[in-house]
């Protein structure tokens, strides 16, 4: 869904990659090449979000952030992913899905929590429909806070995580 192709028009001319973004691109590409042979697969699981985090993750694939050119791809089969990204509150309805998905992950199981909701730090209060512990029921490799985290923060945090692998 997110795969991009080259275009002939100059619609991208208003989107200018600043020095930080260029640096992030270069370093991420190096890390993905080193750790994942140049091809990194994400499986995104929304466990009860407002769709803000998903939209910011989707923005990573737009012509400005263009992470597809770094070798990043979204997959829809959790057995075939390198990193599981979890967004949103941990709802009772979704808990079983998250558990099943986590169990299916190949070793080493890598989980990144996106946004304030999985940590129960967003302004939502607990209800019968939520797991009060949030994402902490599962082992998490990296937390990226924010409501929602902006694309650049996502890239910075991803780089930090990949550097520590």
């Amino acid at each position: 869904m997110f795969k991009l192709f080259k275009n002939d028009n100059n619609w991208s001319e208003n989107l200018i990659k600043d020095a930080e973004l260029l640096r992030l691109h270069r370093l991420l590409k190096e890390q993905i090449k080193e750790n994942f042979s140049g091809h990194l697969r994400f499986y995104i699981l929304d466990s009860g979000s407002c769709n803000g985090c998903e939209l910011e993750l989707q923005a990573l694939f737009n012509p400005l952030y263009d992470v597809a050119s770094l070798g990043i791809e979204v997959v829809y089969d959790s057995t075939n992913t390198d990193i599981l990204l979890i967004t949103g509150l941990m709802t009772e309805n979704m808990y079983n899905e998250v558990k099943l998905t986590y169990e299916k992950l190949k070793e080493p199981k890598r989980v990144i929590s996106i946004g304030d909701c999985p940590l129960m730090k967003a302004p939502f209060t607990n209800t019968f429909a939520l797991k009060s512990q949030g994402i902490n029921i599962f082992p998490v490799s990296q937390y990226i806070g924010g409501c929602p985290p902006e694309p650049k923060l996502l890239l910075r945090s991803l780089l930090k995580y990949l550097k520590n692998l």
């Binding site: 275009n7 619609w11 929304d46 407002c50 989707q58 509150l89 929602p148």
Partner: protein, 450 residues
Amino acid sequence: MRLIARFAQEQEMYFEIITVYDKRIIKERLNKKTPALISIAKDYPSSVWFERKISDDFGIEILYSNDARPLVKHEYFPKDIFPMRKDYAKLDVEHINSTSSKEGNHGVILGPTHPYLLESSEFQLFDKNQIILHFEMMPFYKYRGIEKMIEGLTFEEARPIIERISASQTIAYQYAFLEIQLQASKKILPEMIKKRHIFLLEFERVMNHLSDLSTMCQLVEFFDGFFFFSNFVEQGRDVMKNLTGHRFGFGSLSVDDDFLDLDDAYNFLFSLEKELLKFEKWIETKEKVLEKLLLLGQISKKTAESYGLVGLMARSCNIALDRRKGNDFYEKHDFYINLEEGGDTFSRFNIRITEIFTSLRIMRNLVKNNILPFFLGTAVDGEYFSYIESSAGELMMYISLKQGLIDRFFIRDPSFLNMQILPSCIKNSEVSSLGLIIKSVPLNVSAVDL
């Protein structure tokens, strides 16, 4: 009469059913011992989801219904718990370890993660030779219990939750909530502040239409179009951040803040209008792209009316339904309704473009003004309804306030009605066009799942 919403609330001695039509609101009382409600699904097919939700939330039996399956409560949720009843206050529901109820089901189940929607959701699909014979969408897949969460809170405490029900429609939700606060405090919003809020509401509409158009272009493999729209989405998010301090506009409809950078916003809007005019001419030459959209996922005007579709889903079937129509403020600022006749994906693509032009025209008329101090004042107990035309269609919000606290909070998102048309408009389509049809319908799962 058009059905807008049907929901229940618990009073001390009885259950109250509130049915909201466009011309009147009807209230019924049901005894608490053996509560039973007569279905109106025969006349209003879209009432089925409302009634199934009432049954799940309060344990009210629905009589003469053709669909008594649970809607909110999924397979793991205990059957004997009715979470919206006042005496239910537990925070942890022990979900049952169900042996999957999906056994014996020979259809294809897609979800919770699939390429057709960003949010978790589940589709059930039956096909033969790649033609879809039956399609069903399972709502409340990631049910957060928002209605219950808001009960017992003050307006101030509820505000940050309401603005986060759905990020892509946060401005519409904030606006609907503010309308209720104004009603409760018996105040009228000064025109200058209203202009700023409508500007943001229209901006949100433009952003959501651009985002939908970008995905639709991608799904028909029109990648130049995808680049065109997704560039404007990214620029627009930055402009929204300059305006409100947040890329989606969380916390932006207060009554005393001013814009941060309106010049930047105007530059973006003028550039969008100029380029969109060029795009409109350019896409006319892309016959292969247009062919892929034509006659796909078609809905007749009659079906749209019977399902009570709202927003661009109604307007693309030539139904002149828009909360902005007849509204003095909008009429004064050069609004006129946009309609398409086809009821297909092509019409839903086109109407998004024409509605962007309409929003841009309205926004141009909403010039910057200095904001004078304004205070909402004390909220008075009572029942309040607000209706907002969000980017996805008519949004209804209801709040019952008792002793200054929210006693019942109910939202009817446009997607709650529009989602119910999916089985009809997907049936007999090719499996390969499933994504495009789904993306042509403005769906907001988080606002339905609550």
